[in-house]
């Protein structure tokens, strides 16, 4: 599981022949990413920001910043957008989610953008429970056990979450040009787990309408739909990889580990949410009277 990444010199956005085979849009509808075929590989274009050439096997990526774009911006795009897609091309299973280590068990959070995956991970990490990843959730089957592989030791937060959760002394990356989110680095005050962890529970985050923190079981079929929605797949037209991808997600969905989680989106609710999750993941066993 390696991707060789190099950054090239900045250049104007070149004209690309042909039409993209796939596109992503931001929640407000603006074009975010275009996927082009380039020879046997791919070109991922983030308009006005950068191009990334991905090899056919996903093991090599070249980044081409647009003129005037900062290196931090390009790195941000690579880590959060391109790397998960390159890994998916290698056949790796990568979900768009965060994860934390609770008592040696991996606990993942999936959900639509803005549902609070990063804020929840940061809430755990700043309270001393180590996080495993903020965005690209890499999963592998190890000896029959689905395992979370730790990712980049940083969390991206909006300004209000950062102000509410993070100590001012925490290391922060320079700002990027396309988002107001800032990247905080693991270190003192932001606990990070460097070891692989078995996947214990997956929580799909609700829309914040719950009046109190609430957990409900998710049916396997519903879990499969959510896994499809929140998984990275670079080439959705490559039939063989699509079949394998769907088979991988089906195997994952068959595990009895999926739950809906909803809670009021106020910072005061995060502590009881953490406690609820911790109890749900590791319920105390009542001691039996002799």
């Amino acid at each position: 599981m390696n991707v060789h990444y190099t950054v090239q010199a900045a250049r104007p956005m070149l004209l690309v022949k042909g039409v993209p085979f796939h596109q992503w849009a931001s929640p407000d509808g603006t074009l975010w990413t275009q996927f082009f075929r380039m020879g046997a590989g791919y070109l991922l274009r983030f308009p006005e920001l950068a191009d990334f050439e991905v090899s056919a096997d996903g093991r090599s990526v070249k980044g081409w910043p647009a003129l005037g774009v900062t290196p931090t911006t390009v790195e941000h795009l690579y880590l959060n957008q391109v790397l998960p897609l390159a890994l998916s091309r290698q056949g790796e299973l990568v979900l768009h989610g965060s994860a934390v280590d609770i008592g040696g068990q991996g606990v993942a959070f999936l959900g639509e953008s803005g549902r609070g995956k990063s804020t929840l991970a940061a809430s755990f990490a700043t309270a001393g429970t180590r996080f495993l990843t903020d965005d690209g959730l890499l999963l592998k089957w190890v000896d029959g056990c689905c395992t979370i592989i730790p990712s980049h030791p940083s969390i991206r937060l909006w300004a209000d979450s950062r102000a509410a959760l993070v100590n001012e002394r925490v290391s922060v990356a320079p700002a990027v040009s396309f988002t107001d989110k800032s990247r905080i680095f693991a270190g003192p005050g932001v606990a990070f787990c460097t070891e692989d962890r078995p996947l214990r529970h997956v929580y799909l985050l609700g829309n914040g309408e719950a009046q109190v923190p609430t957990i409900n079981l998710l049916r396997p079929a519903a879990a499969l739909v959510e896994l499809v929605k929140h998984s990275f797949l670079l080439d959705i037209e490559a039939r063989d990889m699509l079949v394998r991808h769907f088979d991988d997600l089906t195997r994952l969905a068959e595990l009895p580990i999926y739950f809906w989680l909803d809670y009021p989106r106020v910072y005061e609710a995060l502590s009881p949410v953490r406690e609820l999750i911790a109890r749900h993941v590791s319920p105390r066993k009542e001691s039996k009277r002799k």
Partner: protein, 77 residues
């Protein structure tokens, strides 16, 4: 593309981002349709398998067919 997980079936059209979950009865309808059976043949087969009236079953089959056609998950040949 469809997969059965638990006792339900999920139909996926990744190109359109369309997903559709079917309960066991719907999954059986989908399976028979996917094998190229006419809607009347699907109805006759399922009447032998389920304790249901012909009218109720026909309504369910037509409703499911309409939903799948609308979502582009089924084509008429």
């Amino acid at each position: 593309m469809a997969r059965t997980v638990g006792d339900e079936t999920v139909i996926l059209d990744l190109a359109n981002g369309t997903y559709y979950g079917l309960d066991p009865v719907g999954a059986r309808m989908w399976q028979l349709m996917s094998e190229g059976n006419s809607l009347s043949a699907v109805c006759e087969t399922m009447l032998d398998e389920y304790d249901v009236t012909r009218e109720a079953l026909a309504d369910d089959i037509l409703r499911l067919t309409d939903e799948l056609l609308t979502k582009g998950l089924l084509v008429v040949t």
